[in-house]
């Protein structure tokens, strides 16, 4: 397909869509004198169809097939879940996911918070924040390529120069270069660095807004009491921004649980670096093990739910105050 055809297809799609919305609005406009209910029905109809067919039905079907074998033909009960929690290979996946979720939210939030406090009110605050925040705007794939280059490895031979910055630093201080993405178990940590690099900007932005919302007289009163900067942080800033910290950490936890792009782009899940979301993709689309793939997706669902519920609860609590 050439470029013109592609854009024509796109224009056609938008046209079809505009026509559908137009018809809905036209019928709604005709019937609204008689009944508001019919208008509501018409306005909700496309959404209801799309969510039922595109989200509800697939979710139920996936849960159903998580109790079936690789081909999706015979019922095996909890067999797939036994594989996830029983086989050595899958246990490494679970271990890695746990490491990701235990490290990323804390480190990313801590760095974001530290930076937000350091640059708060300083000259050049805007550009300084933009530097940390820009990784949020780019794709995980591009971020992975950026870091893959930092970790690039060249054999340790006299006439070979390192081209990756990290290995060059090792060489400069007199250490042998390392295969950062291949040597287990630390390679998972080097992947986590990428996620922290992306998420710290998110934490910084939200927490910075939250710090700025602390009333000036509270800070002034604390200063008149003669608190030092660390007491100020511990007894004034931190309690005031606690709800935002919780929201930021839970949000990053959810994103981390679902991390797929980074693992796939940097190692493809090899060298013991796979995580649940990546394993889901590999099992479903590479190994054609539909049952195990479905079970991994369901596991992801089950892991995400409590965090989301807690997050919504915290959001409500912080709004109620």
């Amino acid at each position: 397909m050439d470029i013109a055809t592609k854009f024509l297809t796109m224009a056609l799609a938008i046209l079809i869509f505009v026509a559908v919305v137009g018809v809905i609005l036209f019928i709604a406009g005709r019937s609204e004198r008689t009944s508001g209910k019919r208008v509501a029905f018409l306005f909700l109809l496309p959404t209801a169809i799309m969510l039922t067919v595109g989200l509800l039905y697939p979710a139920v079907r996936t849960i159903f097939y998580s109790f079936f074998d690789a081909a999706g033909t015979s019922f095996i009960g909890l067999g797939n879940y036994e594989t996830i929690f029983g086989s050595a290979e899958q246990l490494i996946v679970l271990r890695n996911t746990a490491i990701w979720v235990l490290i990323t939210p804390f480190v990313a939030t801590a760095i974001g918070l530290l930076y937000a406090i350091l640059v708060d009110g300083a000259r050049g605050e805007g550009p300084a924040k933009a530097l940390i925040f820009l990784p949020m705007a780019i794709s995980f794939v591009a971020a992975s390529v950026i870091w893959k280059f930092v970790y690039a490895f060249r054999p340790d031979q006299p006439n070979v120069n390192q081209i990756g910055l990290l290995n060059q630093i090792l060489v400069w201080v007199g250490l042998p270069p390392q295969q950062f993405l291949i040597s287990t178990p630390f390679n998972t940590l080097f992947l986590i660095v990428v996620m922290i690099w992306i998420q710290a900007g998110f934490a910084m932005t939200i927490l910075s807004a939250s710090i700025k919302a602390i009333p000036d007289d509270v800070i002034e009163a604390a200063r008149l009491d003669g608190v030092n900067p660390f007491e100020m942080f511990r007894f004034v800033t931190l309690p005031a921004i606690r709800p935002s910290v919780v929201v930021v950490m839970t949000t990053i936890s959810i994103a981390t649980l679902k991390v797929f792009d980074i693992v796939r782009t940097m190692t493809g899940g090899q060298f013991d670096t796979s995580v649940v979301a990546n394993e889901f993709y590999s099992q479903s689309f590479r190994s054609d093990n539909q049952g195990l793939g479905a079970a991994l997706a369901v596991l992801l669902f089950v892991l995400v739910v409590p965090i989301v519920v807690y997050n919504v609860h915290q959001l409500r609590a912080s709004e109620a105050r």
Binding site: L44, M50, G121, L134, I138, V141, A297, V312
Partner: protein, 311 residues
């Protein structure tokens, strides 16, 4: 102000100078309340440096000749600057296995409908939830809100099966529809919350004038909703442009439909030492979302906070 200090009859210049001085005073107070040790500045500079260097290194690399990239580190560029645009020419071409041009075009074709469709449908649904009374409204709204927690992984294989059955597999339609579906719960949630904050009197006044729902939506609400639409629009744009999972699942790896993220990921998988292509390819993929992000930054933070649950 003139009542408090009647004796002061300031020229505009003097007033501006006074204001500037009071602003400077406020800034001084602000500066004092920070951790004023030089260590604080030092740590901030180190962090900013660490966060920028990886990207900067790849940016420099993208302008170096292939041979130079392979034989020396990018930091030697400053001692021995050699620049070329060949890498960008290579990745932007639409031919050959290294050209990402077709993927780049696909990204635009994917992202425009994938932003427009959910916004329009969500406006209709959000209006119904916010301003039309019907039985079961609250229960239905909570249900839509709750759908945000469904991870898209759970839906992919059944959706793919549906697309294959419908004969849509491997077309742009699968990606447009999927992104629209996944975006709807969040879009409805954001737009509904915004619509609810519009004063009731405004809607009722329009209704008194004989305006029906369609008219109220277009004449009264839509003009007020620009910030909310922008907040969601930019969030959805970045999400779709940067997505890999949905694209990989439905578009496959070929140049027919797959976006730039898939092209770049493939290149990284098959030619993971071709840094002259990977570096330029990354920046081709990065430049669009960065420009959009910088242009619409102030709307983005709002969308970000509301959209944290998505994915």
């Amino acid at each position: 102000m003139s009542t408090v200090t009647p004796q002061l009859d300031l020229t505009p210049e003097e007033r501006a100078a006074l204001q500037a001085r009071s602003a400077a005073g406020r800034a001084a107070i602000n500066a004092k309340k920070k951790l004023t040790s030089p260590w604080a500045s030092f740590v901030a500079v180190v962090l900013a440096f660490l966060w920028t260097v990886p990207t900067f290194g790849l940016l420099v690399t993208s302008f170096r000749p292939e041979l130079a990239i392979k034989t020396s580190g990018w930091w030697t560029f400053f001692a021995n600057p050699e620049t070329t645009l060949d890498n960008y020419k290579a990745v932007l071409s639409t031919e050959g296995s290294s050209g990402l041009g077709a993927y780049f075009v696909n990204s635009f074709v994917i992202v425009i409908p994938a932003v427009i469709i959910p916004i329009c449908l969500a406006i209709l649904a959000a209006y119904a939830f916010a301003w039309i009374d019907f039985r079961g409204r609250n229960a239905l709204f909570v249900a839509v809100f709750a759908l945000q927690i469904v991870p898209i992984q759970v839906t992919l294989i059944p959706l793919l099966t549906l697309y294959v059955d419908a004969g849509l597999a491997g077309t742009f339609w699968t990606i447009w529809l999927s992104h629209s579906i996944f975006a709807l719960p969040l879009a409805i949630f954001i737009l509904h919350n915004f619509m609810k904050e519009i004063p009731k009197e405004l809607i009722e006044a329009a209704r008194m004038d004989g305006a029906g729902h369609v008219k109220i939506l277009f004449r009264v609400l839509l003009p007020l909703m620009k910030p909310a639409i922008a907040a969601f629009g930019i969030f959805q744009f970045l999400w779709v442009w940067n997505d890999l999972l949905v694209a990989l699942t439905f578009a496959g790896g070929g140049t027919a439909v797959a976006p730039i993220t898939v092209g770049l990921a493939n290149l990284s998988g098959t030619r993971d030492t071709a840094w002259h292509l990977l570096s330029a390819g990354s920046f081709v993929a990065i430049i669009v979302p960065v420009v959009v992000f910088i242009a619409l930054q102030r709307y983005f933070v709002r969308g970000l906070l509301a959209g944290g649950l998505k994915g």
